[in-house]
């Protein structure tokens, strides 16, 4: 084997050093960024900020969770079904190619554009006022392409002999999908759902013109048909992320900065929970479904 020249060796060492430096820089940046937000959130914390009033972020937190759950109830069935179609039934013709282009286009649409579309269709055309359901639908549009792609990839990752075994036992294609392929692919699909939920938590641009920038709810009113009930999904509802934006652009509260700091910290915490959670859930389900023992996890 020919030895590299001295110059090449020096260049190699220098490049390695620089790459280590850049990798370290990113970790420091992330640590500083998240550390700063959490620190500011803790400094800003006052017990009354957790209240379910205009002075707190309780309402927004409730709205955020409600909106994300609602959007997943809409987007997960559609996204997963479309993913199954793409992986299992779609042919190789122009329709499939066109569907793929559609999914890519949807996935790369700026969320503000989706928000405007939602505003036009869910509010202007139905004559409704800002409402939580419209926001959930807009977030669903953002989530459907990623859920479809995740499901397709997950199904295609299932080994071919699973399929052959099932066909060999006389199962139809659909029975194979529901009985064998989906359960095997479930860990990755669930990871995809959790990631979609995480995205929904932080979404704001698509919600400004759909679910609105304020809420007027009464937490003692649990009649779902009343407009001030927290359960009513036809009421205007601002989420945590939208609140940060609203406080910045039209904030009249004296404690706008503190509320934004606290909201940011809560959102960052949610990101951590969702990111770690999706890894954990994915790994655990993988172990259970593939029957591998604990030690086999990489």
């Amino acid at each position: 084997m020919r030895q590299p020249s001295q110059r090449a060796k020096t260049a190699d060492k220098a490049a390695t050093g620089i790459l280590y430096g850049i990798a370290g820089f990113f970790l420091v940046l992330l640590a500083a960024f998240t550390g700063y937000i959490l620190y500011k959130g803790i400094v800003a914390f006052q017990p009354e900020y957790l209240s379910f009033t205009r002075q707190g972020i309780g309402i927004q937190f409730f709205n955020t969770v409600y909106l994300v759950v609602l959007s997943l109830l809409i987007s997960a069935p559609i996204g997963i079904a479309a993913g199954i179609y793409m992986a299992e039934y779609a042919g190789k013709g122009w329709m499939t190619r066109f569907l793929r282009t559609c999914i890519e286009t949807l996935a790369s649409l700026p969320s503000i554009v989706v928000g405007l579309f939602g505003y036009l269709v869910f509010l202007v055309m139905t004559g409704a006022h800002w409402n939580l359901l419209a926001g959930a639908l807009a977030v669903s549009i953002l989530n459907i392409p990623s859920l479809a792609t995740v499901t397709e990839d997950a199904l295609e990752g299932v080994p071919e002999y699973y399929r052959e075994g099932s066909f060999g036992l006389g199962a139809t294609h659909w029975q194979t999908i529901t009985g064998v392929l989906l359960p095997t692919a479930m860990p990755r699909i669930i990871t995809g759902i959790v990631m979609a939920a995480g995205r929904g938590f932080g979404e704001a641009a698509a919600l400004l013109f759909t679910s609105g920038m304020s809420s007027d709810v009464n937490f003692s009113n649990w009649n779902p048909f009343s407009l001030s009930s927290p359960l009513n999904c036809m009421r205007p509802a601002d989420t945590l992320a939208v609140r940060i934006w609203a406080l910045k652009t039209e904030g009249v509260e004296a404690n706008a900065a503190q509320l934004s700091d606290l909201s940011s910290a809560v959102l960052i915490l949610m990101v951590f929970v969702f990111s770690l959670g999706s890894r954990r859930i994915g790994a655990r389900l993988e172990r259970r479904l593939t029957g591998e023992s604990k030690g086999n996890e990489k």
Partner: protein
């Protein structure tokens, strides 16, 4: 189980998932159609030329009726400038991080950097904007001795941080898919690791890396709130390409869409901007397709 009909065993499920696929097509087409319908009103109902919209810097649309000026050049220029600066800032770092994660230390890459990148992706854009507003903007004002720190630079830095994970994760996938034989052959010829990366790995992964860069650019172009918070929303071309405040397409839409009545000239012009954003994101998809084809042809 045998008394289930073939309909239940196969056709029902198959029909449902096919409808879901068709639904996505219908959804995409209707988004395009509605934006096209709204976005072209500037040119049909208000009789402005496309050239005026794209190239004129005069933005004085009428709040009621017609007769104003709808030049969106300032916003378009702002969007292009900020996205390109963000790309220039983010690309070298992203590719370096991707190389580190795949070639230098895959173990650290998988255990530490991969989760870090995922967390960067997950941080909501308003949080980036809020930190940009409270930390970066005052910092820029201090360092460059400006009255306010709202600037192209602030917007670009915020965007760069936001698009870095996109470029990195796509590049990582591209580099991982470089065939191992390439590397073995290169080491066999006595090359150092850096020579391998520089002459073999990066060129071989280039189509994938470029895809990541275009995806990053697309994300930068469409980002609304984080940029709007730090750009200053000044309706003028930036005097200084880096340090002056300006505005862009998304910031203008978010700022004014809520205050205008549907069908007025100013409202139509804002919809035209939204249509422009849609068309540009579609162009990015086409570019990615072309890059993908070129990459496939080389192999």
């Amino acid at each position: 189980m045998n008394n289930k009909s073939m309909f239940q065993k196969e056709y029902l499920g198959r029909t449902i998932v096919t409808i879901a696929g068709l639904f996505i097509i219908v959804l995409t087409i209707s988004i395009g159609a509605f934006l096209f319908y709204r976005g072209t009103a500037t040119f049909t109902a208000n009789h402005h030329s496309v050239a005026e919209f794209l190239f004129s810097p005069l933005w004085e649309p009428a709040q009621q009726g017609s007769g104003g000026k709808v030049g969106a050049a300032i916003f378009i220029f702002g969007s292009i400038l900020i996205s390109l600066f963000a790309l220039v800032l983010a690309t070298p770092f992203s590719i370096a991080a991707a190389i580190f994660m795949t070639e230098i230390s895959p173990r650290l890459g998988k255990r530490v950097l991969q989760p870090a990148v995922e967390i960067f992706v997950g941080i909501p854009s308003v949080v980036y904007g809020w930190v940009g507003l409270t930390v970066l903007v005052p910092f820029i004002a201090k360092v460059f001795d400006l009255p306010y720190g709202y600037s192209v630079l602030a917007g670009s830095i915020v965007l760069a941080v936001m698009i870095f994970p996109t470029i990195t994760s796509v590049s990582v996938d591209a580099i991982r898919s470089v065939p191992i034989e390439y590397k073995e052959a290169s080491y066999g010829l006595g090359s150092t690791r850096w020579q391998l990366i520089h002459h073999i790995v990066v060129p071989a992964a280039l189509p994938g890396i470029l895809t990541g860069v275009v995806l990053g650019l697309a994300r930068a172009f469409g980002e609304a709130l984080a940029v709007a918070m730090v750009i200053g929303k000044m309706q003028a071309f930036p005097e200084n390409l880096l340090l002056s405040p300006t505005t862009n397409l998304t910031a203008e839409i978010t700022a004014d869409m809520g205050n205008t009545t549907l069908g007025s000239e100013v409202n139509n012009a804002l919809w035209s901007m939204a249509l422009l954003l849609l068309l540009i994101s579609f162009c990015f998809i086409l570019i990615i397709r072309i890059i993908g084809k070129m990459g496939a042809n080389e192999k």
